[in-house]
């Protein structure tokens, strides 16, 4: 019994994807629309029955008119009441391919941001064109990054294979290595006019080759959101203070942890984290807070992996 209760931790740690909120909000909104339709239709039937009992045709059409008007007005209010926070854009996988050869396995998912045509509340016509252009540029850049990464990975794998075979490895042994490249993305936050997206590219035989790209977009102003936009003018101090105190707390909770230059055994011998700047990587989490990300090895030893720090606004 006790063990099962404890295993709830694992269940609770199931990661909630950033898209969930949007799926829920959109479905609620769409359903509200359908409901409007069926409701009005049933109202129509009532009116039809009324007609049987009413002799004056003119009076009937008048009733019909006012009833229909009323229902749609009531309904319009209802739609407004539903707290829908809807994104201006959605992220779709446009290209997804797997290329499995004897040499390696490449699996790629290319994200594509699309403006929600049906729902561009808050975007006026003139602005919409600009946003489309902005989004198209971002999509193009992502495309380019992915293509370059895959080409690079392909090249280094080919070189590695050549070296492997030359030094006495066999094709059989190479296959067993099961070398692969994986490109994927994760939508971290999506609400209002903000969209946060992390693109991950990895080669499984050398974790140091993994790369992450962060996109935080404001689709109203057509800009990349900066930490300053979220945390304000004093963002550097706010973030630094929070990161350093989080590092110290983590070391206290786990004695094996080391943050170079900050805390942990022998930490002071190596230069580590000093300050964030305007180019520091981050994404926006489901609460709308920025999460600052450091690559593996950047602020801590490799065994600790990539490090993330949520900065509470």
């Amino acid at each position: 019994m006790k063990q099962i209760k404890e295993s709830k931790d694992i269940y609770d740690s199931i990661k909630i994807p950033g898209e969930l909120k949007q799926v829920v909000d959109n479905t609620l909104k769409e359903q509200a629309g359908n409901l409007n339709f069926t409701r009005n239709r049933s109202k129509g039937n009532i009116v039809f029955h009324l007609m049987k009992y009413t002799m004056a045709a003119a009076a009937v059409s008048l009733i019909f008119f006012s009833v229909a008007l009323n229902t749609s007005e009531v309904f319009a209010k209802e739609v407004d009441k539903i707290p829908v926070i809807n994104g201006l854009a959605k992220v779709l996988t446009v290209r997804s391919y797997e290329d499995v050869t004897d040499n390696q396995k490449i699996s790629v998912k290319v994200p594509n941001i699309e403006i929600n045509q049906a729902d561009n509340n808050g975007l006026d016509k003139a602005n919409q064109g600009e946003t489309e252009q902005f989004v198209a540029d971002v999509n193009k850049e992502i495309d380019k990054i992915i293509d370059a990464y895959v080409a690079d990975a392909q090249k280094s794998i080919d070189e590695y294979k050549q070296a492997f075979i030359q030094t006495g490895g066999t094709e059989e042994e190479w296959k067993q290595k099961d070398i692969g490249v994986k490109v994927d993305y994760d939508v971290k936050y999506q609400a209002d006019n903000r969209l946060s997206l992390v693109l991950t590219a990895d080669e499984n035989w050398c974790s140091a080759y993994g790369k992450k790209y962060y996109y935080n977009l404001d689709l109203k102003d057509n800009t990349q959101i900066s930490l300053k936009d979220i945390l304000g003018e004093d963002y550097i101090n706010i973030a630094n203070e929070s990161i350093i105190s989080q590092m110290k707390n983590r070391v206290q909770d786990n004695k094996d942890y080391v943050y170079w230059g900050i805390a942990g055994d022998g930490a002071l011998d190596i230069d580590g984290f000093t300050s964030i700047d305007e180019n520091t990587n981050f994404y926006i989490n489901e609460k709308g807070n920025p999460v600052i990300c450091f690559d593996k090895y950047e602020v801590a030893p490799g065994f600790m992996g990539a490090q993330e720090f949520e900065i509470i606004k």
Partner: protein, 165 residues
């Protein structure tokens, strides 16, 4: 037309979406499928919310729809989706190599559907056995029987596991 019921339902869905996702994920182990299931469940619920007579029953009523959707999804996809250990590892990437909690969780996931549903609702979603019996529309005693059967099975499996280790 009972509009407050509609509002309450919408609110309930918005407030508990994370719980719904976790349940769905436990059945399909796949983000896209879980999101699909949630979408379908919301559609079903909103379409038939008029059949919800007692507002206090929103919780059990929605869980029932959700779980039916999960099971239907599994049946439709026809593939047998069992716990894929690789997927699960991803969730708890930072955990230690041997983690008794994870062991138990994996066992729970591998239980037959009927038993698994009860364990998830009772221990993970913290529902009372009475609520579960309403959710699943089965007799309270049946819920108890299934729960004890599930616990017994888990206990046996974990003991075997422990001995072989």
């Amino acid at each position: 037309m009972n509009d407050t019921a509609y509002d309450k339902l919408t609110e309930h869905i918005i407030n508990n979406q994370n719980n719904f996702y976790r349940i769905a994920y436990c059945y399909v182990y796949n983000k896209e499928s879980a999101l699909d299931i949630i979408q379908n469940a919301i559609c079903k619920a909103l379409e038939s919310y008029e059949s919800l007579r007692n507002e206090k029953a929103i919780k059990t009523w929605f869980y029932r729809i959700l779980i039916n959707e999960c099971l239907q999804y599994l049946r439709k996809s026809k593939k047998e989706i069992i716990c894929d250990p690789i997927d699960m590892k991803e969730e708890i990437y930072y955990e230690d190599a041997y983690e008794p909690k994870l062991e138990v969780y994996e066992r729970v996931c591998q239980l037959p559907e009927q038993m698994k549903t009860i364990i998830i609702l009772h221990f993970y979603e913290q529902m009372t056995l009475k609520e579960i019996s309403q959710t699943l529309d089965v007799n309270l005693n049946t819920v108890k029987t299934r729960l004890y059967a599930a616990l017994k099975r888990l206990k046996n499996e974990l003991e075997v596991e422990y001995e072989t280790n």
